[in-house]
């Protein structure tokens, strides 16, 4: 059996609170597990609101920050223990598309610079002609032509074009995994479909898996295969996208999905929800379920310890909530 493409085991990231550091302790991510198989290619959604830890997860996987504890294994090798050449290979295999289509371009250079960088550093071409062919090919894959865009400066292109060029850049490297952190949230509504469609095509035609990080459950519902829902650093529900979104089990996820505005004025939000006074919930390493203060179905038990993931529908839907403690649970 081939090793999984990416395996995250019990990943935890804690900021601050140490002896020499300023600031209070913030548990950004706790005990996070994720497995992306080598084949077939999948789009795995990591969904959550601000403070959920999804951006921290992206930065951990991309190697911008280090884990406090736990492991991230890429094809069996822990990324913290990689040698330089392995790290370079990792960088090539795991690429990214970020949220802000403007900030990712160096304003000093023309947009072609982003392609030159990768071709040079990863030695993707032997001469200029090969390089230009590679670039043109990648641009065509996202629906752009080289002569229209390559000579321009970032501010001369539209947000949609810039974001597509970023996807083309990732494609150029033929990675196994692309981490897409809110790739469409800063793009106009009518253009989002184009970029999401590119992601689907890359999955189907080029076998590239995606880690789609977002707060927008509607798009997650449309293109995700699997979904992980995070709340304040912990996974509260995970499983098959359609199952989870059509039939959420965790109280937080239920509330979340009920709050997504539906495009039908006849189906307005039925009840007023109110957030408790103490909205500023800091993610301290308290024991117990993080959602306790806001949960309409909380029990005393929830304060004692964080609930493990219970299998509500086999492995297709798992929920971290004591309401389901009669089901089998995955070992933590």
């Amino acid at each position: 059996m081939t090793k999984p493409l990416l395996e995250i085991k019990n990943a935890t990231k804690i900021y601050g609170g140490g002896f020499l550091q300023s600031g209070e302790k913030v548990v950004a991510l706790q005990g996070f597990d994720l497995t992306i198989p080598d084949k077939p290619a999948k789009i795995i959604t990591i969904a959550g609101e601000s403070g959920s830890g999804k951006t921290t997860l992206a930065h951990l996987i991309l190697g911008f920050i280090d884990l406090t504890s736990g492991q991230i294994l890429f094809k069996g090798t822990h990324i913290g223990e990689m040698k330089r050449s392995q790290k370079l290979d990792y960088r090539r295999q795991v690429q990214a598309v970020f949220q802000d289509p403007y900030a990712v371009y160096n304003p000093f250079y023309r947009v072609k610079h982003i392609y030159d960088l990768v071709i040079k550093n990863f030695k993707l071409a032997r001469n200029k002609r090969e390089a230009n062919d590679l670039i043109e090919n990648a641009l065509n894959a996202v629906g752009l032509q080289g002569e229209e865009v390559l000579h321009k400066y970032p501010h001369q292109l539209s947000g949609g074009q810039r974001q597509r060029m970023m996807v083309a850049r990732a494609y150029l490297l033929e990675p196994s995994l692309i981490v897409a952190d809110e790739p469409v949230s800063m793009v106009d509504a009518s253009l989002r479909a184009m970029i999401l469609d590119i992601m689907l095509r890359l999955r189907d035609e080029s076998g590239i898996s995606f880690l789609y990080i977002t707060h927008d459950l509607s798009t997650a519902y449309q293109i995700g295969d699997e979904i992980y829902l995070l709340y304040q650093g912990s996974t509260v529900e995970k499983g098959d996208t359609v199952r989870v979104i059509e039939n959420p089990q965790h109280p937080y996820v239920q509330q979340l999905i009920a709050s997504v505005p539906v495009l039908d004025p006849d189906q307005r939000w039925d009840s007023n929800i109110s957030l408790p006074d103490d909205e500023r919930l800091r993610a301290h390493a308290e024991s117990g379920c993080r959602f306790y203060p806001r949960c309409p179905q909380r029990m005393d038990r929830c304060l004692t310890q964080q609930p493990p993931l219970y299998q509500v529908d086999g492995l297709s839907q798992q929920v971290a909530c004591y309401l389901y403690d009669d089901r089998p649970h995955s070992a933590k």
Partner: protein, 334 residues
């Protein structure tokens, strides 16, 4: 002469109780290569006690139009033409600076984009709201002021203790509700809210939207809600005005626009919104295709319209009534 009579709306030219009547608003931005036509002859009415949503993608001119109504357009932008008649009597665009200052905040107020990040970080909430009130109404006796502010707090659903807190101690949703409180402090007839929920989490967004609806019900204040999220509009507003590249292309009750959008752009916009109820193939479209400095002659949407004809390329379709409250600017409905 300004009419500071606050009993409510005047009667607009179409016979309904109108709070704001915008006529042929035009705003241009000067650039080194010619004027960008940001708002191109936009006209609409806001009726008493309603929430009107102004929807469109980035660059369509919705924020510019709102800023123009309040005369907050800065150079290189300039208002070429237009009227914004408040309560049937006062044209905001022709008032003197002094008269305008009296009207601002007392008759018409604004919750700008990113307002929650613009709260003064070194002032307590109570002082910021007090500041706003006293600037326009003069010094107030302390006890009366405190009562007023506490009442405002409750109106927007904030707990009492927020009164003495600093902005950084509050969450995003709470800060936004403070901004709403400030906007309604002087009981205006109209509040303009620019992207009031765009930076907020989904659940908080719902709470803030509920707050806006609460205020409409309790105070009878009308609102112009600017946004790009059609889903939110569906839940919040009564009527929707759709803008594309500086032009108003459709205006109708929200149900009509969502169930049966008439203008091809409205149709495109609505189709491209992913649903959380049903999985279906994505609808792919091109983006804005013309240079805002050089719009095509004729209909503004001709470069992207699947139903375009020769007539569309030369003649600008006027905004016409299809129903008593539904107007479209498209030759398909002439």
């Amino acid at each position: 002469m300004i009419d500071t009579h606050k009993s409510g709306a005047g009667v607009g030219s179409d016979g309904w109780d109108t709070v704001l009547e915008v006529k042929d608003l035009r705003v241009h931005y000067a650039t080194s290569e010619g004027d960008v036509i940001a708002v191109n002859g936009v006209s609409f009415n806001i009726y008493k006690g309603e929430l009107l949503g102004l929807v469109g993608e980035s660059g369509c001119g919705k924020t510019t139009a709102a800023m123009a109504i309040l005369r907050l357009v800065q150079p290189p932008g300039r208002i070429l033409n237009g009227q914004a008649i408040l309560n049937g009597t006062t044209d905001l665009l022709s008032l003197s600076k002094q008269e305008l200052r009296k009207v601002r905040w007392q008759e018409i107020s604004l919750i700008p984009q990113g307002a929650m990040n613009s709260l003064n970080p070194v002032m307590r909430i109570k002082n910021q709201i007090a500041d706003g009130i006293e600037t326009h109404e003069g010094k107030q006796p302390k006890k009366v002021l405190k009562e007023r502010i506490l009442k405002l707090n409750t109106l927007v659903g904030l707990p009492t203790r927020v009164y003495t807190m600093y902005p950084h101690e509050l969450s995003g949703g709470m800060k936004q509700r403070v901004c709403i409180a400030m906007a309604i402090a002087l009981n205006p007839s109209l509040v303009i809210a620019d992207e009031p929920t765009s930076a907020l989490d989904v659940i908080v967004q719902r709470v803030v939207a509920q707050t806006l609806l609460d205020i409409k019900d309790r105070l009878g204040v009308s609102m112009l809600v600017i946004g790009h999220d059609m889903g939110l509009m569906a839940q919040l507003v009564d009527r929707v005005a759709v803008m594309y590249a500086g032009n108003l292309v459709e205006i109708a009750p929200v149900k009509a626009v969502l169930k049966e959008p008439l203008h091809p752009y409205s149709q495109l916009l609505i189709e491209s919104i992913p649903s959380i109820k049903e999985r279906k193939p994505l609808k792919i479209t091109e983006g804005l295709t013309h240079d805002l400095r050089n719009p095509p002659p004729g209909c503004i949407f001709q470069l992207r319209c699947p139903h375009v004809t020769e007539k569309c390329r030369v003649e600008v379709p006027p905004l016409q009534k299809v129903d008593p409250r539904h107007k479209v600017a498209c030759r398909l409905y002439e």
